[in-house]
Symmetry: C2
Amino acid sequence: MRPTTRDLAKAAGVSLATVDRVLNGRAGVRKKTVDAVNDAIRRIGFERNQIAATLARQRGYRFGFALPRSGGEFMEEILDRIREFDKAGRAEMVEARVIHLDDQNPHRAARTLSRLSAEDLDGLAIMAPETPQIRDAIQRMRERGIQTVPFVSNQQEDGFVGIDNRAAGATAGRLMGRFLGSVQGAIVALTETTQSRDSLERRLGFDSVINHEYPGLRILPTLETHGDPGRTELVLRNVLAAHDDIVGLYLMGAEAHTPIDIARHLQATENRVTIAHERTPSTEAALRQGDIAAVIHQDPGHLVRSAVRILRAKCENRAILASQERIRIEILIAENL
Amino acid sequence: MRPTTRDLAKAAGVSLATVDRVLNGRAGVRKKTVDAVNDAIRRIGFERNQIAATLARQRGYRFGFALPRSGGEFMEEILDRIREFDKAGRAEMVEARVIHLDDQNPHRAARTLSRLSAEDLDGLAIMAPETPQIRDAIQRMRERGIQTVPFVSNQQEDGFVGIDNRAAGATAGRLMGRFLGSVQGAIVALTETTQSRDSLERRLGFDSVINHEYPGLRILPTLETHGDPGRTELVLRNVLAAHDDIVGLYLMGAEAHTPIDIARHLQATENRVTIAHERTPSTEAALRQGDIAAVIHQDPGHLVRSAVRILRAKCENRAILASQERIRIEILIAENL
DNA sequence: AGGATTTTGAGGTGCGTGCCTCAGAAATTT
DNA sequence: AAATTTCTGAGGCACGCACCTCAAAATCCT
């Protein structure tokens, strides 16, 4: 039988009340006594029964995902997974909800965050740009006792939930190189905005592989769509007209829907190797039809569950299983969808 | 607040005792009453609080993994994940242990299974060949009230935990074709034994892609190693001597360690495309060194956790999140390790 | 209708922990 | 030494459910 708090109290030579005070970090216990309890914990191998603990706490866990209001297909996938998790989690007394942040106005986003209280939230996974206001708001949330973890969009902290975008870019680069084989020519790189750290890092990784290992390939300057179909069509038309040796397309942004549609319409993918990011209905269909060769993906379900596990571990002051929380850079082709 | 059994009793117009009888499938309740309770469950949206239930049950969950005693590096990975899970699961009152099966003697394996009692096991994930004895033993286990799920090695049931090996073979085939580009020639396919369903299916998938879409490539008859280094070296030497146009190697078995070592020693991988299965220390090192081009992988941690989730859902008579339980066919290259 | 049988209700206990109160003990200060 | 202040112990209630007992009610059979 596993040792209980009762056993622990006996082993430490203190009462249940004191054990409770130490375990839950309440004030008013002499250091000597705290040490004695911690000693006993190690000695008898006590481990708090989380099942009983959550039941007794009355209140399970309530986690939030702070996400930009506007999102494309990939964001929809994430939202679906959050809802799915919330539904399945109710039996285990964990809830997950979405908190929309204004992605145009960091100031308002920060205010939204600062309104969150520890009363109705135990932890928050945050996808937001790194402005000073937001950084401050997050810091204050922490001080209020809300656990946080950066989500998908890179905040370069450790404990970040998401893929290493540099490695993802390198993966795309390697596939591009191998798929092209001995073919030589130019590669178009397209993204929504070069301002985002994600795009930057992907491009860095992509470049490092292509430039070092495939001297017959050269990557053109990154084109920006700003999420606008008109502009996407314009820049694609221009680049196709300007270069007659384009052999590959690298769609770096998270929202490949529009670029794929337009590229197909312009017949830009024919006889070229196209690689995109994130599995969505659009990229999946394009893979099946052979319009694109591969998709670099991060599993949204895994992202969501991982974020929750990390937040929960923080709440319970536990360690996490690092191996389980490393988000894989997945390579998808038509055959392993 | 979520409805409790008390609310359910009131809504159904019965007592707590009857609610308990219905919820836990105990005998001695009229069909009419059972229906009334189930009706009320749907009406008020009752959902059993699993936290409280497991606590009250006293005994958490005890799951087992029935695995062959002899295993290579990939099996070691799985064992590590099981141990890891067991350690982390204790706080949630779930245990996981390994039950070794004699893989040479199905009769003894069946006996091992038949000795397991529902007293000390709630569910079992089984990796075993499909012999009549074992099939019977599994059937009897089920009748004794132990939940089961086929594990990794294909038992072609639904609810099977593992990848679709035909698709995995097709994935390998597509990568082989794309990586070779316009290169033409012969491909060596190597496995431990062609008797295993896994190998068969992988070969089928591999063939279907290569034969239909890469007419310049031809796949040689599958070579068998029987797990023996000497034999591996022999068949590899022979095939290399017999054909001067070998451009690719497909290592279909789960144990790529020996084949990779020997292929490297024979310089068989140089200027050829090699694809193997399962990430292990060996295949990982070979990827980094460029000896092999890609690894088709299934995540052992995911396999273990998925098996446990499925078994648990069966124990609790719940539905599972299918999306979460589909084991992905992962493609690994040096850049996304 | 009567007895035998099946079905239901009322109530209790316990799981391991969180959280609360209050009195008494121990350490510290005056 | 007395008066504070700081720690500690004993105890109880609660969480939502499983599991148990025993008697009462409903249904069945002859």
